[in-house]
């Protein structure tokens, strides 16, 4: 990992406005994420978290404002420059979005075949490393996506997102639909990617446990703006109706919101 710009911002979102017809989803959203952080975007249903994520990675054009990923403006730069940046980040979609006609190993190999010139033999080893890094057993590579459980599908999607050793990983609800034990294992896996490989992770989540255990920083989206931004323990203490009700569930089942802070 390039170490010289360790604390530089790798994601810069500036004054994003999004309108769908008459309804305004985002009304001036701005934040930035530094390298090596595990940041989470939270917000109630319909606050445009997924739309914002799609705007950051260049799939949906914001009405106004700019997005810079690794220093490149995703909406005003020439196409080849954006394509070059896309090779430097990985993305996993909610249901994995694995190519159903390819085996898991072939899915992971797709970015490697398309974007690198490495030998097939090296590629095969690298695919196996990615599967291991995503916490999948070696024999999972030969399986078809339809034969995988929900948790394994998410891991396979993570392995494909990791294929090119991205500098940033975008995860859309990585633990939704997983049982708590599997979800916690996935959290630990994501944390280890940040700690061991120095990858910046930006995730959209509803999972309170992920927030309180592994995330460095929480960005709260409400009313079309960034309502709060900071470490999870501080966010949990804020005096705001929505944030209080969001974190209240945790105190209801007995734990305290600031129980652990990820280290």
């Amino acid at each position: 990992m390039p170490g010289d710009d360790a604390n530089a911002a790798v994601i810069e979102v500036d004054g994003i406005v999004t309108r769908f017809g008459a309804s305004t989803v985002h009304d001036g959203v701005s934040f930035s994420v530094a390298r090596g952080t595990l940041a989470a975007l939270i917000g109630g249903s319909g606050t445009g978290k997924s739309v914002l994520l799609r705007e950051i990675i260049g799939l949906h054009r914001p009405t106004e404002g700019s997005v810079r990923v690794l220093g490149t403006d995703m909406w005003r730069s020439p196409a080849e420059q954006v394509a070059a940046v896309r090779r430097r980040f990985g993305m996993t979609f909610q249901d994995g979005a694995l190519f159903s006609s390819l085996s898991v190993a072939q899915n992971v190999a797709v970015p490697l075949t398309e974007h690198t010139r490495i030998e097939p033999e090296v590629r095969e080893h690298l695919v196996r490393l990615r599967l291991a890094q995503a916490g999948l057993p070696a024999d999972a590579g030969a399986r078809m996506p339809s034969e995988l459980s929900g948790g394994m599908r998410k891991r396979a999607a993570l392995a494909r997102a990791l294929a090119l050793e991205p500098e940033i990983l975008f995860l859309d609800e990585p633990t939704s639909g997983l049982d708590p034990a599997t979800a916690r294992a996935f959290d630990a896996l994501v944390r280890s990617l940040v700690d061991n490989l120095g990858i910046t992770v930006f995730l959209v989540t509803h999972d309170l446990d992920s927030l309180l255990t592994v995330v460095d920083r929480v960005i709260v989206l409400a009313g079309g703006k960034v309502l709060a931004d900071g470490p999870p323990r501080e966010i949990a203490r804020l005096d705001d109706a929505w944030i209080r009700s969001y974190f209240a569930i945790r105190t209801m089942v007995g734990g305290s919101p600031g129980r652990s802070d990820g280290s």
Partner: protein, 374 residues
Amino acid sequence: MTANAAAERRLELSDDGVRLTLAGAWRLSDLPALGDSLARAQPRAPLTVDGGHLTSLDSAAALELLRALSAAGLDPDSIHWHGFSAPHQRVLDDVLRRRAALAEPVPPARSPWLAGIGERATIIARQGIDHLSFMGETLVAFLELITAPRRLRPRELTAQLEQACLNAIPVVILVTLLIGVVFAYLLGLQAEQYGANIFVVDGVGIGMSREFAPIIVAVIIAGRSGAAFTAQLGSMRLTEEIDAIRTLGLSPMQVLVVPRVLALLIALPLLSFIGLVAGLAGAALVADAMLGIPPAAFAERLHDALDIKHVWAGLIKTPVFALAIAVIGCRLGMHVGRDTRALGLATTSTVVQSIVTVILLDASFAVLFQELGI
């Protein structure tokens, strides 16, 4: 060449081969060049690897380094790793830790070709049985309709009729008209030689009504509606809509399958008749232009030569074709595997299976009519 030169500078082996110094960026994008220079270097034990001059190291490059050293006969555990910065050491440790998991996976056992043939045969046989049992389920659903006619969904039925019948009329007319033109032209070429022009009308009339109109229309509908049934029901299954129908206490057979089967049962005879008329019109065009038979003479000869039993023999087959197409299309859609690839395969399979079934049924009818003397 420059890439290789740069790679040389990123890798330096001391003269006695026991100290390997890494420098610069070791990343996935540099791998092809780095791999070459790694393969050329011949390190020896006891090896010290110095990573103090690295500016970056990713896990792909670390993996390639370990693989090259292992290939040179060095045990990664006995290598002395020296001078790596903390982040680089973590990447290296991550890959070292996972080395055990990277062993060659056991390739899945390939079944021998004979077993493969048997497997295919049982799949085909099972599919035939499944089609028949689905046909039975459909018949039961129709019987239920007789006892409880209010279960019929007129709205769904009319929607399907519009799709399968009304919207198919233009393409049916176009195709059968052209077939009539070509058929009359080819017959005319032969008949002209014997001065038997008028017999073209007999040939076209009997041929179109007994075989061409029903078969061609059935093939068009198999491609049009059969594929649509599989795609519609298959995607409803993928999105769990069919399960939702079931949990709401409704029968997917009544809600989805019966209207479609019924629509085809009504549509195919009608379309077949339209196709027959269009085909005869096409033949009449050629007869007028090429054989000197004016439309009035064509119609009169048709009246004399074409016994009505030929038209019935053609039309009586069409509901059977319709049932086959609708049952195959609906069954493959309702039973599609839960991924997008399976949906594509099922749609293809519907078209192939229904066309083959239609031709097989038609051949059986030919034998049957022969024996009955129709």
